[in-house]
């Protein structure tokens, strides 16, 4: 199962799980995904060590999508 997780005060929270073969699970994950983006989170898909890509739509073929808060200079 692919997962949508959000880094938060608990470490991380799994918001949705989906399977590429299950359309309804993808739709539910996509809805959760959009909701988090609306709250100001950014979504990142890791692409192996040293590489990551920001995504604005849920990629159904991704194994793991991580939601993070914005960063800023301190």
């Amino acid at each position: 199962m692919a997962r949508l997780i959000r880094m938060d005060r608990t470490g991380h929270t799994t918001l949705a799980e989906w399977s590429a073969a299950d359309e309804s699970s993808i739709a539910a994950a996509a809805a959760a995904f959009r909701e988090q983006l609306d709250l100001g989170y950014y979504a990142v898909v890791t692409q192996g060590e040293g590489r990551a890509e920001q995504v604005r739509e849920l990629p159904p073929d991704a194994e793991l999508v991580i939601l993070r808060r914005p960063i800023a200079g301190g």
Binding site: I5, G11, A52, E53, Q54, R69, P70, G74
Partner: protein, 221 residues
């Protein structure tokens, strides 16, 4: 690293995007600035002793100034790797914080290789090789060891959620760095640029092996 653009850049739209050339220029500027702070004190020390040997104590004071100013800058640079100012914990939250950190460590561990995981366990810093050099990512900042391993840029940058456990703060910075390395350096605030040895002396002892490892990685290219 991918060529995507970090969305946080919109918040610092007035900044020129950092690239290799900009980093070299900023490094030279820091060297010039250090010289401008140091050379006058050294010159004063020499002139005073030349005019009147009895002024040697004043000369010594000037030399102390010349030594201390770059050290203070280096300390400022090393401080970017320190943890953020602790907040007063809510009652009964210590156990929850420990659980959160354990969970966050699991995710961070999944993002990096074995060697980086080991280094993080011992030093609290994650090494990450990039196009601009070798990064050491901490909770509230990052060091960039430039190719060759001699110069270090110290960047102050953090996730905007203070409730995150420490490993998650590091993971935030690591992911942003991997998304867009020049963008990451553009968003971050440069606190210091100078000799690696100078920053190393100002780091907490447990972090120094991470800087040594990053220096070796940077020398290997």
């Amino acid at each position: 690293m991918t060529a995507g653009t970090l969305p946080e850049i919109a918040a610092v739209a007035w900044r020129r995007r950092v690239d290799e050339r900009a980093l070299r220029a900023r490094g030279r500027l820091w060297t010039l600035s250090t010289g401008a702070h140091t050379v006058p004190f050294v010159a004063i020390a020499g002139v005073l002793v030349g005019i009147e040997p009895l002024l040697a104590p004043v000369s010594a004071l000037a030399l102390v100034h010349a030594w201390a100013i770059p050290e203070l800058y280096a300390k400022r640079g090393a401080n970017v790797l320190g943890p953020p100012r602790p907040r007063a914990p809510a009652a009964g939250s210590a156990a929850a914080a420990t659980r959160a950190q354990a969970t966050a460590l699991g995710l961070l561990g999944d993002l990096v290789g074995h060697a980086a995981r080991e280094l993080h366990a011992h030093t609290g810093l994650v090494p990450e090789r990039g196009a601009l050099g070798v990064w050491l990512v901490g909770e509230a900042g990052a060091l960039l060891v430039r190719p060759g391993g001699r110069r270090v840029h110290c960047w102050c940058v953090r996730a905007d959620d203070p409730s995150l456990p420490p490993a998650d703060r590091t993971a935030h910075l690591l992911l942003a760095l991997r998304e867009d390395e020049p963008g990451f350096a553009t968003v971050a605030n440069l606190a210091f640029s100078g000799a690696r040895w100078r920053v190393r002396r100002r780091l907490p002892p447990r972090m120094r092996p991470a800087l040594d490892a990053a220096g070796q990685m940077a020398r290997r290219g």
